[in-house]
Amino acid sequence: MNHISEEGLLALRDGDDLAAADAGHLEGCVECQARYDDVEARARTVSAALEVLDESWDIDAARASVRSRVAAVAAARAADPASTVRPLAVPRGASSTVWRAPLARAAVIVLLLGGTASALPGSPVRDWLSTLLGGGLVVEEIPGAGVEGASAPSAAPAAADAQGTGIRVAAEAPLRISILGLGPDQDVIVRWIAVDEVAVLAPAGSRFTSSDGRVEAVVSGGPVTVELPRTMTPATLEVGGRIYLRRSADGLEVTGPTVDRSDDRIFFRTR
């Protein structure tokens, strides 16, 4: 007799569709029933262990924070539909005056007014936000979207070269560049430059954000060129969540998969 596999028992326990064929066998098999009881007991152990980690949360504060940030996105979009700038989370303990651009300051004012007004039932601002933010991607039961969703908003590049599109901003320490969306065998070239700017250049369709020394690129593919100020510390480059290089007061630490390296550049290839 072929007994139900371990994964089959789990699928039965979890009510997964894959398990339908095994259900009949379980009813008539004492051995599988005993193993099923074991996986059920294991689930109770796991569940109880996880639940003890849970804490209480200030839901109202979180709601206000998200509402404000959504309003800021709407305000920035209204002020400049082509803008790629969006508010990133303000680090705890940091000053609230994190945005320096005039557009951002205007967005904050609109956000404060909008956030307050949108909290009122029946407020037209609520509808205004809804109009601004509505009409996007419709996801099905299983979303096919990536990290950033399949509906990455159209974005005008902040800088561009022959590679397609990019971002170039003043570098601020601590500098952290994060590149997402690259598959294996894609080239990432780091160039050291003499000015205090950071740039990320990537093929068309890539999307960029920056805030307070942090630059995030969700790229449509390779190659990606990153220009980094030669002397700035600390500076970190992450590709796909993995640290490729880190410059600190102690020197340069290269941990990514290098193909070639010179004084002026480091040539990585993703794995």
Binding site: E6, I59, L88, G144, G149
Partner: protein, 163 residues
Amino acid sequence: MDFDTLFDALYPPLVRYCHRMTGDRDAAEDTAQEALVRLYEHKVEGPEPALRAWLFKTATHLIRDRYRVDENRRRLLEQNPVTPTKLDEPDQVLERGERQAMARHALDRLPERDREMLLLRYEGFSYKEIADAIQVAATSVGTLLARAEKKFVEALERTEEPA
């Protein structure tokens, strides 16, 4: 779905998931809120289960991106030890703190993918949704999940054994 309805339905499980993943309150709140902002920013629409799956997937990737490096993760945990929630009896506080530390330690021993898979499953996601979120074949989820559960329980039992 309006903002408040969506928020009330999805934020609590999302922040719980992020907290279980990171072991860090601030990181959990930041990640959950960032995922929600991105939902609006990208104008994602659909039925609640689909929005929920999108949010958890986005949060999973954000956590991978920001907290995946083991050194960082260990540092975060060292700087933010799990603290028990308020209970009346000191014994209860102590016991809960110990159980939290054991569970955290056991989770921390799991490889990243196993941890994601386990936590998504215990948030009620189907095998297909888990497969989509962590990009493995749907037919592999059962096998991988069984392994992840066993590893977690074994790690839990090891932490319970007296030194």
